[in-house]
Amino acid sequence: MTAGNRVFRIHWVPGTDRLHAVCHCAAEREFEDPVELWEWLLGHPVGHTS
């Protein structure tokens, strides 16, 4: 959809209730709660080891 330099991508993992978050730094993690997910993404670079 978009090709900017700082893009966050969140996919709903097919067949599950989980959200897969990918930071622009390529760090990724799965979540069950979108609030926690945004805290983690926006906390970049804290804990973003890819």
Binding site: M1, T2, G4, N5, R6, V7, F8, R9, I10, H11, W12, P14, D17, L19, H24, D33, P34, V35, L37, W38, L42
Partner: protein
């Protein structure tokens, strides 16, 4: 911190609303006076006389050629907001001037810049070209909403509500049950939410307008540019059909649903909506059907959000909410709006 994002462009009206006549609309708490000069240019200035603050849109205030004459004591302003005459004396005080708003007419909308005029960059106004493209036919309207604009943003970013609030119009079971993909472009300031239903029931809104029977592929691609412009790229096609590699998409029907979300006051909003289609061009019957259906849908949201506003207004600060997967895009939009309002 402000209750709305300052230094931003907002849709104040459709161009068709502004004629050679005084027109007032409150945008982000500021009453703005518009009129179209005899040369066809839209002007925008505060709708308050500098003398005793009488509204310049209020009769007997009137437009005489390209000057507005205050209906209280006759202060007269030109199209640039400069006071050119006051009653009883020859000297017009130097400070007698209404500061004009930067204004741009584009894509059928009249945009005004609320904030420091020096920061107004017309190139930053997001586009909705379909609304004036001869390859599309558009129907549009505006409904007053007695709710804070954030509630409409929440509403439009999560279309799973179509299944419940708009059943029988645009809602079908698949909308709420199909997973979404969310993307946030921090540099461009855009939230994207997409939901691709590859085998879905066709709701009346699309069945009657496209003539498609049976199951359909229904793609919803949202593109929200905070604070004001929201676009839903809607693609309706026979099941199994996908756009071609060269980008053309001849088997599909495309509907561009555009909303402009303009705060009026802290708890009321101008809810502009437009539906542009690339099929049944010029077909009056289809236009009437889509205009009527979309207005009905918008009013279903208006009724629900007006109630929600009352609920929220009467709750203590910091009430509890619970967010789930469907809210991923809405949360991103809220965060961007918060940042634009000056929250960290």
């Amino acid at each position: 911190m402000s209750w709305f994002p300052r230094d931003q462009w907002y849709v104040a009206a459709y161009g068709s609303e502004i004629t050679h006549d005084l027109f007032s609309r409150t945008v982000c708490g500021e009453p703005v006076l518009f009129w179209r000069t005899r040369d066809g240019v839209v002007t925008a200035m505060p709708d308050r006389c500098v003398h005793r603050r009488f509204p310049l849109s209020q009769p007997p205030s009137r437009l005489v050629d390209d000057q507005v004459v205050c209906g209280y004591h006759g202060f007269t302003y030109d199209a640039g907001g400069k006071c050119v005459a006051v009653p009883g004396q020859a000297r017009v005080p130097r400070t007698a001037r209404l500061l004009p708003y930067p204004v741009v007419e584009q894509d059928s909308f009249v945009w005004v810049f609320i904030g420091d005029p020096a920061k107004a960059d017309a190139a930053r106004i997001p586009r909705a070209p379909w609304l004036v493209d001869p390859g599309y036919t558009t129907v549009s309207g505006m409904e007053p909403l007695n709710a804070r604009y954030g509630l409409l943003v929440d509403n439009l970013l999560d279309l799973s509500h179509e299944t419940y609030l708009h059943g029988g119009y645009i809602g079908t079971p698949e909308v709420a049950s199909t997973p979404i993909t969310t993307e946030v472009d921090e540099d461009a300031g855009i939230v994207f939410v997409s939901r691709h239903m590859d085998d879905a029931e066709c709701p009346p809104f699309y069945a009657k307008s496209t003539g498609l029977q049976g199951r359909i592929a229904r793609w919803q691609d949202i593109e929200y540019t905070p604070p004001c412009l929201y676009k839903l790229h809607s693609r309706i096609a026979p099941v199994g059909s996908v756009p071609r590699a060269d980008g053309t998409d001849p088997d599909a029907f495309h509907v561009e649903v555009v909303y402009a979300i303009t705060p009026e006051t802290e708890t009321s909003t101008h809810d502009f909506w437009a539906v542009a289609r690339d099929f049944a061009l010029g077909d009056e019957e289809v236009s009437a059907f889509l205009a009527d259906s979309n207005r009905t849908v918008v009013l279903q949201d208006v009724v629900a959000l007006n109630v929600l506003e009352q609920v929220i207004a009467n709750e203590p600060e910091g009430y509890q909410e619970l967010s789930i997967n469907i809210d991923t895009g809405g949360l991103a939009a809220r965060r961007m709006l918060g940042r634009l309002c000056g929250r960290s």
